[in-house]
Symmetry: C2
Subunit: 338 residues, 2 copies
DNA sequence: GCTGGCACTCACCCGGGAGGAGTGCCAAAG
DNA sequence: CTTTGGCACTCCTCCCGGGTGAGTGCCAGC
């Protein structure tokens, strides 16, 4: 039932609606696009598209707007990811290159994405589970107080304060530090637990309690921090769709404040390639009128975390997808360099 | 000209307006408050208050609303900071106590403040300039690559990657680490520069370049990170004043995205005691219709950073001030304990 | 299968009138 | 001099009804 021209009509409807934010009618369509047919024909096609659930009318005598299903078809079949212009690409590169540390990379990425897409940007910190351990450092702060610092190959640093069950000498500390690092440095995070299990046995009885405490804190950090952090930005862009305010924006802001929701959102996306979730495809209710475009990024070929944008279902998909993909690539490069 | 009763009238106007969000008239005032006079008298008082610029009418035949000047008088003279109930205090304490590290403390504080005040919360990370150095750690990642980790007494950790001009041996590294720490550990950040100036001289010629590089990176970190970070939350609360949407909320969201703006905002506040900036008292244009309530917090008696909330000028000042003060105290306690 | 014509349906945009809250002023009372 | 009730006036808000126009669905003809 959906011949070539009808798909073309759907594409035209999506494009116009995204541009004007108003329901688009048959006459306007034939004027703005070279469809080669009359409004009456387009009306028939529209009726068919509506029958199939790709478009809908807000009320009887209004134009049509795409449904979630319509956007889905558009994204899957009709839209080509729009590559960025080379000045844009250069700007991205320059902007990201100035970053001084991981926090800064993430912060800059968020700003960049938000500006490029004019939407809300979400960037996940590189994940610990997929990262490897670069170094574990132990610092004695007081006789029975140790600070554990964990450094990953993505430049992330986590620290924990540890109260020891018994005083712990500098020599023992140095010993533990050396042994720990020789075992876990360069290892993937998930591989660490079995490698350190027998460490307490190598120590004097009086130190074993402390060693165990340190180890369990290390493993805890591993697990806890698998709940990954993220950063968002560009929320002011939400105000651009002032129409249905504030009914739309309220639940979105609320959802964005819940890291858990966002993490789940990014987690649902495919590990490789770009994922677009449209409207009701998003599990979270508050995001039912938004679309999420996300993609994995990483320093090597492998994705270590995800980033993306959240915007109204009525968004410029080709442009947004292009920007998201480009930013992910450049962030990957920057991470690989540092 | 402003006798006791007129102040009482102003107080009543502020309270009612904050509650109803609608201009308040003379009749309604006498009904809701025991002023002991008739509406006509109140009208006279209102005329006087308007004359002095404390209240205004949106249009001729409407009730009055407080001006910025009116709120100012209210806050300075008429409002008592409202202490929290003890269940609330207990809830704060329990909620903050579960934090595992500094990031977590800040994150929880933001959530807490946002929930308590139902407004946008801003929490500054404990400042490096006022903090002292707990430890400096140097890690060799490659023959000519060193990672510098700086740990402060507030639990904050900063790291920097350093490319050395020449390979740097483990012994030299350990030497530098020891010397550095013996000089700067426990020192205030601002005091560090002169203390390390002559360090390169203690090393072999071949290592001096690297030592200088490390030192300058350390001092850089000191300066750079004096531009402090902060965390915000509760932006969804902005949607509660759906009236003048989105004209009001847009610039506010934009301002809140600019860390620089926020830092300046908090920086302008007094170092000790609570600061309330009302409407146009805020330098930033986007915040002209909001008030900022902020206060310093710290682990000892001394403030190391600030926190506060941003809300509409029409806010519950006593309640907000009470919540902000209480949260600041508890955060201070938590920081002191860790 | 495409096209032009045509009647029909609503949302949107005024303009005007009723209603009402609130004010300012004034004259009288305390 | 302050307070109070009365009163006329202002002007915002709400609601109603008709006109307008974009857009549709259907149909008959090509």
């Amino acid at each position: 039932m959906l011949n070539e021209r009808r798909l073309e009509v759907l594409r035209a409807i999506v494009q116009d609606y995204v541009g004007t934010e108003e329901p688009v009618g048959s006459k306007a369509l034939t004027e703005r696009h070279k469809l080669g047919v009359s409004p009456a024909t387009v009306r028939n096609d529209m009726a068919a598209l509506e029958e199939e659930g790709y478009i809908a009318q807000p009320h009887t005598s209004a134009g049509r707007i795409p449904t979630d299903k319509g956007y889905r078809l558009f994204v899957d079949k009709l839209a080509a990811v729009k590559p960025l212009s080379s000045p844009e690409r250069r700007a991205i590169h320059n902007f990201l290159e100035g970053a001084v540390d991981l926090d800064d990379v993430v912060a800059r990425t968020v700003r960049l994405l938000a500006q490029l897409t004019r939407q809300v940007a979400v960037v996940q910190y590189p994940s610990l589970t997929r990262s490897t351990v670069r170094h574990v450092e132990l610092l004695s702060l007081a006789p029975a107080r140790v600070m554990l610092v964990l450094i990953t190959d993505t430049g992330r640093v986590e620290q924990r304060m540890i109260d020891c069950p018994a005083p712990f000498g500098e020599t023992s500390l140095a010993d533990l530090r050396a042994r720990l690092n020789s075992r876990v440095a360069g290892r993937r995070f998930a591989d660490v637990p079995p490698l350190v299990q027998d460490l307490p046995e190598a120590f004097e009885a009086e130190d074993r309690g402390t060693v165990s405490t340190v180890l369990s804190t290390l493993l805890e950090t591993l697990v806890e921090e698998t709940e990954e952090r993220l950063m968002i930005g560009g929320t002011a862009n939400l105000t651009r769709f002032a129409h249905d305010f504030p009914l739309t924006i309220r639940p979105v802001l609320e959802a964005l404040e819940e890291q858990v929701v966002l993490l789940k959102l990014l987690g649902e996306a495919k590990d490789s390639g770009m994922t677009v979730r449209i409207g009701h495809e998003n599990a979270h209710e508050g995001l039912n009128s938004t679309s999420v475009v996300s993609v994995g990024y990483g320093s090597g070929g492998e994705a270590v975390a995800k980033l993306g944008v959240v915007g109204p279902t009525r968004m410029d998909y080709p442009g947004t997808m292009g920007a998201v993909r480009a930013v992910a690539r450049y962030v990957g490069q920057i991470l690989a360099e540092s």
